[in-house]
């Protein structure tokens, strides 16, 4: 299979097209502009629709419309732009509509700068908008994974009738790496997929009663919230996804997601070469959080857990602490404001924690 050398943004955009995405609306923001740039060119070629909207709010609203019409739809933005989409993301979850939202995180808070970060973790996993809904949050660590996860995200959105969130970062978006793309869905498959949504989608202006209620608000909200909560609970059994590397005999665990996990993996390799028993836990999805990976650890052996992320204050580490449940000390190695993690900093923090007992 041919490995194609692509940018992270292009990997996501091309994988979306191959997954059958036929509608994209977005508003430009660095560092994800190559996503709309790519789709502006590509979508019309495959019979899809690309819209550069007038704002993020308009973008997410258009995605809502396309998803309600049964079309596989996506939007993409970066941090401050995703914040503007919050209301629309909540609306998608409230109306049980499948769509894919990409966030190529950049520095924050506020407008800050265009450099990479992982500062939107809490927003992505806990509070994408008002109303206490949840989304599956996929956090690719390599470009191959970015493409594969984008492809899968559309299936997950359709399966659960819920928006799916791809938590990326400016580093992953800008870097290039050779990847193998998943096979494109055929036009026939895409038509069948759309037809399979006839039970709820709004075809030909046919406003089905059930759908109209979903979109217009409802008085009997609680039963719907209970059903959603039950679905989120089921995810904890079926959708947890993580990767363990050399954890069996590990006395120190490094944990990280996305781009940080790449750096953390390099640290584990280096520390093993030094003879230190260090392992890696990498959540592949950050929601639902893989608490079981931390429950499986032998805490008579584990001296500590080092949580690594490009966010100050730490976000991801809060979930790690919750999962570790005071069974081992959790320390952090952090960067933010657009500063990329340095391998040496992770190594130093790990060595210190390793020798701390």
């Amino acid at each position: 299979m041919e490995k194609i050398f692509v940018k992270g943004c292009e990997a996501v955009a091309e994988a979306a097209v191959r997954a059958g995405c036929r509608f994209f609306a977005g508003y430009p923001i660095t560092p994800q502009n190559e996503v709309p740039e790519y789709l502006a060119r590509k979508l019309p070629q495959v019979g899809g629709i690309f819209v550069q909207a007038e704002s993020e709010i308009a973008s997410i609203s258009m995605v809502f419309g396309a998803a309600a019409g049964g079309t596989r739809s996506m939007t993409s933005s970066a941090s401050t732009g995703v914040s503007l989409m919050s209301e629309g993301i909540s609306a998608l979850a409230g109306a049980h509509l499948p769509a894919v939202i990409c966030n190529f995180q950049r520095s924050g808070p506020g407008i800050s700068n265009i450099q990479p970060s992982q500062q939107d973790y809490n927003q992505a996993t806990k509070a994408h908008g008002h109303g206490a809904f949840r989304m599956l949050v996929l956090a690719p660590s390599t470009l191959q994974e970015a493409a594969d996860m984008t492809y899968r995200a559309f299936d997950l959105a359709d399966k659960y009738l819920n928006p799916v969130y791809l938590l990326l970062d400016g580093f992953t978006g800008a870097m290039m790496e050779p990847i193998v793309f998943p096979d494109p869905k055929s036009d026939e498959w895409i038509l069948e997929n759309k037809a399979s949504k006839a039970g709820w989608a709004l075809f030909d202006g046919n406003l089905r009663e059930e759908r109209r209620r979903a979109m217009g608000g409802r008085n009997d909200q609680e039963p719907d919230n209970i059903a959603s909560a039950e679905m989120y609970e089921r995810w904890k059994g079926t959708e947890v996804e993580y990767e363990e590397t050399l954890t069996d005999d590990a006395e120190l665990i490094i944990t990280a997601y996305g781009i940080s996990a790449r750096f953390a993996g390099a640290a584990v390799k280096k520390l093993r070469e030094e003879g230190l028993k260090v392992g890696l836990i990498r959540p592949v999805k950050v929601y639902p959080f893989p608490e079981e990976a931390f429950d499986k650890l032998d805490y008579t052996r584990v001296r500590g857990i080092l949580s690594v992320e490009m966010s100050i204050p730490a976000n991801f580490a809060e979930d790690v602490k919750y999962a570790a449940c005071r069974r081992a000390p959790v320390k952090t190695c952090l960067s933010s404001g657009g500063n990329i993690l340095e391998l040496d900093a992770i190594l130093d923090a790990a060595r210190e924690l390793y020798g701390s007992r």
Partner: protein, 215 residues
């Protein structure tokens, strides 16, 4: 084996293009792993611009390493910005344009005493001078490439980046020279086939300069 490269200069010099060309060549003509990471400010032309390339036999953990084996500095400012990021025993390829010769000398003591020969020898149209300077306290070697002048003499200052690319490939054993040239034809020639001849010339002159610098 893992080799890492920083290419640095200002927007408009083709810094990112060099990184992409090296990465593409490595991807298409070897079975090695490769990553490319660009970093640039909000300005396009004139702003600082740099990229990182890592080529490895194993999956790559850190696409933006702190210390690299090779630095391609397209101007003095880029050299000063990244000279602290070169591994001990690493090599810097410095575009030593004539108008910069003085500032280079004052900014980096190691370059003093390299002689003026490098710059003046290059006055011949089809020659690119390169002189390497013994590493000093910084612990790396500097190969001075008369890239700007060579490119100018060839008829396009834009070809500076290919002279620098050639110097790196000629000096190192990163990839066979022909592989990179084929990628240059494929990627650059796709848009501007009429430039193939000059691109090849710029690359070849850099290549020879790089080869001459190997001691």
């Amino acid at each position: 084996m893992e080799k890492s490269i920083i290419v640095a200069g200002v927007g408009g010099q083709g810094v990112l293009l060099v990184g992409q060309t090296l990465s593409n060549a490595a991807n298409e003509t070897t079975d090695k792993f490769v990553t490319y990471f660009p970093s640039y400010g909000m300005q396009k032309r004139g702003g600082t611009s740099e990229c990182y390339v890592v080529i490895s036999d194993e999956p790559i953990g850190v696409p933006k390493p702190k210390l690299v084996d090779y630095l391609l500095a397209f101007n003095t400012e880029a050299f000063n910005r990244f000279k602290g990021n070169v591994k001990p025993g690493g090599t810097v390829f410095l575009n030593a344009a004539e108008d910069e010769a003085e500032s280079v000398s004052t900014n980096a003591d190691m370059l003093v005493g390299m002689g003026e020969g490098a710059a003046t020898d290059a006055s011949a149209m089809n020659e690119c001078a390169a002189a390497d300077v013994p590493a000093d306290t910084e612990g790396f070697k500097v190969v001075r490439v008369d890239a700007a002048k060579t490119a100018f003499n060839l008829g396009s200052s834009k070809a500076l980046n290919l002279v620098m690319t050639g110097a790196l490939i000629g000096y190192s054993d990163l990839m066979p020279a022909e592989n990179v040239l084929q990628t240059i034809f494929k990627k650059l020639g796709a848009k501007h086939p009429e430039m193939n001849e000059m691109n090849e010339k710029a690359y070849s002159l850099g290549l020879e300069a790089g080869r001459r610098s190997v001691r």
